[in-house]
Structures are given as C-alpha cells and as structure tokens.
C-alpha cells in the first residue's frame, strides 16, 4: 500500500520556564491516497502544529526534536528549502481557516488565481479558462463574473470555495485543511464540507482535516486522531472512535457535546481545562491524568505504550482505564424542561424593530437603510429559558442590544413587569437594569483589563444607587465567585490571567451582582471549547435551579439551544420565521429555513449520510 504522508514518533519542542518541553510528542500517522484523516482536539491540543510541521512553518521558538516525517517517500524534515517550496502549493496544498484574510484584498480573484497557476506552469493564454473551470468545479455560480471581483465583494463561503479551487488546481497529493469551516455559518459549513469531500474523492487526494468538532470529523473522515495537550490520545477508524470511544478524554469530549436528537442528557463536564504549555514539564506521563475521572497512579507516572484494540484502533492509556464498563463519564438524564408557568412575563416585547440609516441627507435625498430587526414580539416568563437562533446577519445580536436599551428601537414597545421602558429615560433605566442584565459574547472585550476580578464582579456597586463599602463588596464578590464556580483565589486576578472559561464565568458573575430576574446572553459559549462550553451551560441550568432566573439565550448553535431552552425563536434576515416549543420545532420544523438549519448540523448518528448532496 502506498502512503502519501507518514509520521513516526514525531515530536516538537520548545522551552518554557527554562525547561525543554514537548508541545507535540509520539505522533504516529500514515495517510494513504484518497483517504481522509481527521485531527481532532480542543484549542491548545497541538493539532494546527502538525499542519505547520508539514509546511515547515513553525513559530520561532519551536523545533522538531525527534521522529520522522515523510511525504511521498521524501523526508520532509531534511528536505532543502528549494525542494520544499517546489512541493508546497503543487503537491501539498492548504485550505486556511479564515478565507477572508487568506486572500489579498487588493488583487482580483483572476489575478490571485492566475499567480497560482503561473507557479503551476500554466501558460498565460490558458489561465482564464482554467480558472473558470476550476471555479465551476466548486459550484460557484457564474464563475465568469467572479474573475474581476475583489475578495471583499464575496461572502466568506464564496472566498473559501475560491481557496478550495486553488488548492485543488495543482492536483496535489495531499491537502491540509485547518478548520476550514470554523469561521463560516452552519449552512455554509455543510456546503463547504460537501465540496471538499467531493473534490477529494474525485481527484483521489489525501486529506488531512483539522477540526475541533468530533462529530463533524466523524462524518468527513475515514480515520480520526484525537489530540490532547500535544499527545495522541486515541486513533482509529472514524466509526469506531465515535461509537466505541475508549480513552476517557474522547468519551468526555463526546459526552460534553449536546445532542440534536434523542433524550436530553446532562452534559458531563470535566473539571478544569487543558494544561498550558508551561505546565507540560510537570506532567511526564499522561497529560490528561489530572482531569481524568478514572485515573490510576500509573497514568501520571507515564511509561506505557499505546494499546492496540484491534481493527487499527489505538488508545494511549493505561489498560485499567480502558475497561469498557467505566461509568464515570456516563451522562445522566436531565429533568425535562419545566412546564411553562402562567406567571406574568418579566420581559414583553411588542412589534419591536430596528432600522439603521434610511434618513435624509442635507438636500432631502433618501439614503438607503438596513432593516436589522423587522417588527417582532416575544415574551419571557420568570425562570424560562428562551432561545433565539439564526445565522450571522439575522439580527439576533441587535435584538439583545435593543432589549438592554443599548440602542434605541425604531418602533415597538418593551415592557418589563408590564411597565413600559421603551424610552431610555432615567426611571425606565432603573426598572430595566434591576430586572435585566446582559452577558456579553466576547469576554476579552467585555472585561476591563485594568480591573481585578473582585472589582469586576461587584462593579454595579460603584453606581450611585447601589454604593457599598469595601467590606460589603468583598463579601458579595466572594459569594458571586462561589455561585459561579470560581475559586476564591481568583478575587485578585486580572482578566489577562484567566482562561476563556473563567472569563466567561466572571462575565456571568458580574451580571448576577444586582440579582436580575432575566439574563440576556449573546453567543456566550461560541468562543469556548466543548468541554468548557459544557461547564458554562451546566452553570446556567444550576442558576435556574438556585435563583429561578430567566434567560434570553442568543446562539447560532442549535444543539446548545436545544440543551438549554424550552422555547425557541428562529430568525432570518431580521425576521422571525418560526417559533415554538423547542422539541416540537426541532422534531417537525415548518419553515424551510429552519429545516435547512437543522439539516446543516452534522447528525449524532455517524451512519446517517451527511451532508446530504443538494440536487
């Protein structure tokens, strides 16, 4: 059997805190022509590092310290720079994560594609025809008209298709796709995956597919390799990994992913997070051991070899941990959504709309406007979790800002406990901000980097209306940290010293300070890894138990909305296209857009074909 890419005992090292640490170790892989290997892991697992080793594009302080890497019979580690450059783009091609930044905004599609074809040795006269046929192959409509357009005139999905066409143009033997769909909307993701798969099958190219989404990988890949903190944790046929995960981490990763169908199970969330590179030196053995629910002392000491489980399925774990019966990570059933109570709603929105621009210029000419939110109504009762789903540009974030009074609505009314707060007058503001608080999407931007945690979470007590002395503030801060599952040591930390999950907890704690009855959460888990996402989602469920708090949960992730929310509102281009009880909407979607959204999510069952080839 021929092998396109083969790695044996590959390790990449750097120095952290004066010690040499392996940021990638014991990587064994082999990829045959026409096969797809998935590299799966959370951020910091080292999956992108493998792509960088192949391109020999490692950051300055990193270097390959051990092992071998062969491409098509040639040693990629010792190859000369000239030979390597000759390989890249021709025999090895890359599909990047951010399609918009990967294309030069000052060149037209034809110019950039032409440059690439020139490198491939296509004569000038044939280039335009080649480009048109290549663009047609990735199912871009009217490729002729795209040639003289600039990247910023195309959508993210279209740019990604252009890049895919470029990657396949040289009929490469290997394509490395690093999170090619992460920056795109769900429905675009399905199309892109479909195109990559089809092109790859037609050309017999080997594909290295790097992703954080285990379920997506299961549908795209023949084989999957799961990485954790630079270690290969488990490797095997995709079906076998999903249906019969053996390593505790793989099991935890699967259990942390909310499902779109079947019974709602409480997500099993691991404590803590993946260790940082600086902590690697103190973890000689299994780097997962400190978080492992079934660890035995042998794991942390290390020294065990990967176990072969037959059928090419390999796990790097001590035999004791692999006993199939381990129930430690088994998910528990979640109580059904509480029945909607008949209490008066906390928040009631009637025919609310927002239009940007559309005014008149100095000379009376009308300027074009954009309808961000078309007139819509919704209500949230105490203790109720309502989800708002939609893709980017659907107006869901604008809705959150309108509800919070951060932007004035164009028309409609917002009522809190029956009192009208549509106008942002001082009195209305008091009513609004006593009942409603917001958790922001990007904790990086939402936390003032110059405030320590204890000052951040009790920030509201600096306002003239709630002014409190230092002792009261400190005890309040302590209580809030306990409630949101943060250790008291965090009190004096600054945002830069916190991980993404911890920042999001601080973000939530701050919103809880004034004991609101409704939280408005705008995409609060979209930037987090699955295991951290599970922690935050469970925290929200626990808060409902403890405080009877309501939630307006804005998200693009249908599975997450299904996990949390009893009712769901689906938005498209600023309009509500469907709403109802989550279970009913997801089981029998009425609107074509809802159906399309649901179809775009990789199903839980690996055997179900996905993505469905569009007619």
């Amino acid at each position: 059997m021929t092998v396109v890419l083969e790695a044996k005992g590959l390790a990449v090292s750097t120095t952290a805190g004066g010690r040499t640490v392996d940021v990638l170790r014991n990587i064994d892989l082999s990829l045959a022509p026409g096969r797809v290997l998935g590299l799966v892991g959370e951020s910091g697992a080292g999956k992108s590092m493998i792509g960088r080793v192949i391109a020999r594009n490692l950051p300055g302080a990193f270097s390959v310290s051990r092992g071998a890497l062969h491409f098509d019979g040639r040693d990629l580690l010792t190859i000369s720079d000239r030979d390597r450059l000759a390989l890249l783009g021709r025999d090895i091609a890359f599909i990047p994560q951010e399609p918009l930044t990967a294309l030069n905004p000052t060149l037209t599609i034809a110019q950039q594609f032409g440059e690439h074809l020139e490198r491939l040795g296509v004569p000038r006269g044939e280039r335009r025809a080649r480009i048109v046929s290549a663009l047609a192959e990735v199912r871009l409509r009217d490729p002729q008209t795209l040639l003289d357009r600039y990247p910023f005139q195309l959508s993210g999905g279209m740019c990604q298709r252009v890049l895919i066409a470029m990657a396949f143009a040289g009929r490469p033997k290997l394509i490395v796709a690093d999170e090619p769909t992460t920056a795109l909307d769900v429905s675009t993701q399905a199309h892109i995956v479909q195109i990559i798969r089809r092109m790859q099958r037609d050309t017999g190219t080997a594909l290295l597919f790097i992703t954080h989404d285990l379920r997506l990988a299961a549908h795209v890949c023949d084989e999957i390799m799961v990485l954790y903190a630079g270690d290969m944790i488990e490797r095997g046929p995709a079906r076998s990994i999903i249906n019969n995960p053996r390593h505790p981490y793989t099991r935890a990763l699967l259990a942390a992913n909310p499902a779109l169908s079947g019974p709602r199970l409480r997500l099993a969330s691991l404590p803590d997070q993946m260790p940082a590179i600086s902590a690697f030196a103190d973890l000689p053995g299994c780097r997962f051991a400190p978080r492992c629910p079934v660890r035995d002392p042998a794991c942390a000491a290390g020294g065990f070899e990967p176990l072969s489980l037959g059928d090419g399925h390999i796990a790097r774990c001590a035999p004791g941990c692999l006993s199939g019966e381990t129930q430690a990570i088994a998910p528990t059933a979640l109580a059904p959504w509480p029945v909607a109570r008949s209490d008066a709603p906390v928040l009631q929105v009637d025919n609310l709309s927002k239009r940007y621009g559309g005014g008149r210029t100095l000379f009376g000419a009308e300027t074009p406007g954009v309808n961000a939110v078309l007139p819509m109504s919704l209500s949230v009762r105490p203790g109720e979790f309502v989800g708002v789903v939609g893709e980017s540009g659907s107006g869901k974030s604008t809705l959150a800002r309108l509800v919070m009074g951060l932007e004035p609505p164009t028309s409609g009314a917002i009522r809190i406990d029956g009192k009208d707060v549509t106008k942002d007058a001082p009195q209305a503001r008091v009513i609004r901000l006593d009942a409603l608080q917001m958790v922001f999407q990007d904790p990086q931007s939402a936390l003032n980097p110059r405030r320590p945690v204890q000052s951040l979470v009790t920030q509201a007590m600096e306002s003239p209306r709630r002014r409190a002395d230092a002792v009261t503030r400190l005890s309040r801060a302590k209580a809030l940290l306990t409630e949101t599952g943060l250790a008291p040591e965090m009190l004096d930390r600054y945002p830069a010293q916190l991980s993404g999950g911890q920042k999001q907890r601080v973000n939530i704690a701050r919103a809880l300070c004034v004991t609101p009855r409704l939280l408005v959460a705008d995409e609060i888990v979209s930037g987090l890894d699955v295991s951290v996402q599970a922690q935050i989602l469970n925290l929200l469920l626990d808060l409902r138990e403890a405080r009877d708090i309501g939630l307006l949960f804005i998200s693009h992730d249908l599975a997450v909305v299904r996990y949390l929310c009893a009712r769901v509102i689906v938005m498209q281009n600023g309009a509500v296209v469907e709403e109802g009880v989550t279970e009913e909407v997801f089981a029998a979607p009425q609107h074509p857009y809802t159906r399309a959204l649901l179809a775009a999510v990789p199903p839980d069952d690996v055997d179900q074909p996905w993505p469905v080839e569009a007619a």
């Binding site: 503001r429 608080q437 917001m438 600096e462 306002s463 600054y494 701050r510 919103a511």
Partner: protein
C-alpha cells in the same frame, strides 16, 4: 498593581531609551531644584573686567567661571543652571495644561459622539489650520510678554495635539463591550468616562505628555529669544542665545552651551516619549509578537 501595569513598567525599565532619558531628566530636575547651591555665581552678577571669558579648559580661561562669561561678564554655567528652572517650569506646566484641556475635550467627544464629537472635531480642524507661530505671536502681543503668557499660549495652541489622538483612541475603546457593561451597571456618564475610558487611554496620554514637554521647551526658548517670555532680569536659555548672538564670532561658547542644553533636554523628552510609546502601545507589542 495589575500584572498588565507591572509588565508595562518592566518593559519601560528595560528600554534603553527610557533609562537614558530618565537619567538626563532626573539630573536636569535636580540641577533646577538645587540651583542656588550648585551655581558658583548669581546668574545676574556682572564682572565687567572678565567679559567674554572662554571655558576654564581653554587658553585664558578662569577656574572660577567654569564655562566662561558673556558680554557683561555673567557666569555662563550659573545662567545655564538657573535657565533650567524656566525651561522645566514651562515644560511641565504648559504640557500638563495642554493635556488637561485636550484630553477633557477628547473624552467628551469620544464618549458622547454625535454632535458633541462634530463640534470638537471641527474646532480642532479650524484651530490646526492657523499657523502656530503666527497664532503664538498674536496671543503674546495681545496678552503682553511674560513666562506665564507663554505657557498660556502653548496650552491654547497645542491642546489640539492631545485632542485629536485621544479622541480617535477613545472611539476605539468606546466600542468595547466593557463600556456597555458599565452602562448596564448603572454607572453615571462621568463614572464611565473617568473609570473605564480614561484608564484605557492613559498610556497614550503619558506618551503624548512627554513629547509635548519637549515641544514646550523649544517654544519657550524661541519666545525668550525674541524677548516675549521672561523678564529681562531672569536667566533663560533663549535669552542667553539672543545675548551671545552679536559676539558669536569671538566667543562661540555663549551660544553653544545654551543650544546644547536645549538639545539635551528636548532629546531626553523625545526619547522618553518614544520609549514609553514602544513600551505601552499594545498594538506595537502585538505586531512584534511580544504580547
């Protein structure tokens, strides 16, 4: 202190520019403070027998006048030492004044946006269209000469430098979610401006302040050169250059020393500003991969 501030301070302390500048500035401040103890003579004492003496190491120099004397036999070293007082006084007061005025307007403009921003921005545009030297001369002729008038002129002319830069930085900060979060915490407008917005622009403010001090030293020297600044009986570097101008061919030292003093002090302020900018500007840090 936040780790961010600590790291910034560490970067400052490791920057050669900042270290060199700090040494020169500390020395200059010490000289100005302890002038009566350091100066060998009173800056106004005339010794008409020993006029136009060269420095003590040159032929014909007198050890009691280390840097020589001017046309009236006044000790150049003593006049330089007392001149530092005027230069530093103008530098600190004028730059601080320009900063306060400019930053206050900039904060208002970036916080409220809309028509407030429009008015402030147009004011800056119009202000900056005036030639600054002409504006300064008009102001000083109108208000009369004097060192405090010079300071007022610098404040009234140079606040635009602060306003323009701080306003654009403030607009970037206003887009951050923590400003919205402060609003949802029922902060008053003033609280948001002072507790959230001001700290975010303060690194830039400090950098600009340092650069402005250098500019103020030069402006003061020019104004005292043309006789619009200090009283005739006060020693200032610009006055020294003006006095020594006629005898420049026989006694170049009278011009060289004050020019060198101005050069050194302005260099220190500029190095300090540049060093602080490199140490504090997060965008530069990111582009160099240090953050």
């Amino acid at each position: 202190m936040s780790p961010r501030a600590a790291a910034a301070l560490r970067r400052c302390a490791q920057s050669p520019r900042v270290i060199v500048a700090a040494i020169i500035l500390i020395a200059a401040i010490a000289v100005a403070l302890f002038a009566p103890f350091l100066a060998p003579h009173s800056p106004q004492d005339q010794d008409l027998i020993n006029t136009l003496l060269p420095p003590m190491w040159a032929v014909g120099g007198d050890p009691s006048y280390p840097l020589g004397t001017d046309t009236l036999g006044r000790c150049i070293l003593s006049r330089l030492i007392y001149g530092a007082r005027v230069a530093l006084y103008v530098a600190f007061v004028a730059a601080t004044g320009a900063m306060l005025l400019g930053a206050a307007l900039a904060l208002l403009a970036s916080y409220f946006g809309g028509w407030v921003d429009w008015i402030v921005s147009r004011m800056v545009d119009i202000w900056m269209a005036f030639p600054p030297v002409v504006l300064a001369l008009i102001l000083l002729v109108g208000m009369g000469a004097g060192v405090n008038k010079v300071i007022l002129a610098i404040v009234l002319i140079d606040w635009t430098r602060f306003c323009r830069v701080i306003r654009s930085e403030g607009i970037v900060v206003m887009k951050r979610d923590y400003i919205a979060a402060a609003r949802l915490s029922s902060f008053t407008n003033l609280q948001i401006m002072l507790k959230e917005l001001l700290p975010a622009v303060s690194p830039l403010l400090i950098t600009l302040l340092s650069l402005e001090m250098g500019i103020a030293v030069i402006v003061e020297a020019i104004m005292s050169f043309v006789g619009l600044s200090v009283e005739p009986d006060v020693a200032a570097w610009g006055v020294m250059i003006a006095d020594a101008r006629q005898t420049m061919n026989q006694a170049p030292w009278g011009v060289i020393f004050p020019v060198f003093a101005i050069f050194l002090l302005v260099l220190a302020f500029n190095l300090m500003g540049d060093g602080l900018r490199r140490a504090l500007d997060t965008r530069l840090l990111i582009s160099r991969g240090a953050a």
